[in-house]
Symmetry: D2
Subunit: 177 residues, 4 copies
């Protein structure tokens, strides 16, 4: 049996994970996508073809519903190809965007997994590599649906939120939010 | 709803992943387990308690069926606790040990996932962190059974083997081996 | 002959080198000194005892002459101990502070070497380790005087300045400034 | 004044520093030179042009006087260009080769600095970057002569030797050897 080759669509909307440091002015901002080089340097993918699409370069704190609609439309369009999808997104409103899409996109045939990082990938102690590694594996293992993948946990949307105190994500019961 | 806390049993048998460099004689060998510090430094596990058990410190090229029986007995005993298990093992005979256990341990109630690395974890370009990260996530997602987790793929035992040319693992159909 | 043991005084005033990332608000700022752990993890010093003194935690863009006078007074006081000194400082006004001290402190009996980094030490691609490594070696090799050590060059104060375009330092002739 | 541009000749003879890991057989050996990529990734050299010459790829434990004569002849020849020289060499017999050259090459007009590493550069915790960084700076600062640069110390040849217990180098008085 030939080994199954996978194609995964990696969509970047920016977020902390993709913030880059600029030596000229000391800024740490979303300017361009840097995830592919990081993946290339750190994650072995012998049977996976990754296609990167950068649709936004924003700190999610500043995302509007207009941005979310754009992301949602983009997902809806790409989902026709039946490729599993990993979406990079800022952690501040990842749960909002994920929920927004969950409410508008029904009958998924593939997993759509949101992830990001608490620390930009350029940092030595980033959690970016862990989170992206896990999302890329999870997208091969789980049934169709919307998820957030973070710090070795896979959360089903919509009952997931950022836990600012613990600097990670958590699930909650619908009534307890 | 409280977030589910997991306990995972991490069993080390040595392997390339755990080989350490000795400055005094330039050797690269299995001497002691070094995985916990690497996990601690690289993988965030807010909801996972890891228990490490070092039962062997061997390059799997030199493993005997006696070693495999010991590993198998140890697994059988610990499986009474119903904890998901990740086993670190050398890549050269990982598929043999995994198969050995698969043939002797029936009615698993948890996943038992073998992993390791092509490059010792002390190297800058190690695949150890990726593989252990993935195994720790997979063990939360998949149904009971024996698996090998490697380079962003999860393979069901027994139809999995090392691909020496491509320096990774692959699945195969039973008759094609 | 016993190997000469050195004691070096490491004075931190903050600067880009010491900026730390805060996950809770995404800020990158001078909050506390983090240099000792970085040195401990990256630079072997079998014959050198380092004493760290954190006298300021400032981005040098915001330094005032009052700050510089404080640094200068502190140096003048510690110089009584005849220990070679390395000063961590932001790159934006390192040359101003170094010159300020050069003009006020005469008859040095030890080298006083300023250094810092273009990229905070928490980043994977930081130049912090290189610069501090070099300053710690230079302070053992050169004659008494004020210097800036940066990117494998040692510059005598006062004719040194930051080159913003090339993101490094350079020397210049007095009349050409 | 224009900034002085330096050209430095980097000669590799192999040694622990240049040992590379081979996934196919688990070996750690001197096969080819890997130093330039490591320097490129870790050391900023805005004013330095490095020319690498790989003249040997040997663990210095196995070096013969024939090898040393070859190294010595090569140095003698290249010294006509009056470029400062850094020589990468295994630590086991670095002092022997350095002394061998010291005894045969007189009237140096440039520094010739030997260095290497206790841990191969491919390891996360290598001392290779520190040692090469220091040698590249020292070669700009010191007077002509033969030296060993190691772990933030510069030792004049011939009274320097490896200290195996402390896993570093040390100087000694001629009669005390």
């Amino acid at each position: 049996m030939e080994n199954k080759h996978h194609k995964v669509l990696l969509i970047s909307t920016g977020g902390t994970i993709e913030k880059t440091y600029d030596e000229s002015d000391g800024s740490l901002e979303n300017k361009r996508s840097v995830i592919m080089q990081k993946i290339s340097d750190n994650i072995r993918l012998p049977y996976t073809e990754l296609e990167l699409e950068v649709i936004l370069s924003k700190d999610s704190l500043y995302m509007t519903d207009q941005d979310r609609q754009m992301i949602c439309d983009y997902l809806q369009n790409r989902l026709k190809e039946n490729l599993p999808i990993v979406v990079l997104h800022g952690t501040d409103t990842m749960e909002i965007t994920a929920r927004y899409c969950f409410e508008r996109i029904k009958s998924l045939k593939v997993p759509v997994i949101f992830t990001g990082a608490m620390v930009p990938l350029e940092f030595g102690k980033t959690d970016a590599v862990q989170n992206v590694t896990e999302a890329l594996l999870a997208v091969k293992l789980v049934k169709p649906g919307f998820y957030i993948s973070f710090h070795n946990e896979l959360f089903e949307v919509p009952c997931v939120r950022k836990n600012k105190d613990n600097r990670t994500f958590e699930s909650y019961t619908a009534d307890a939010k």
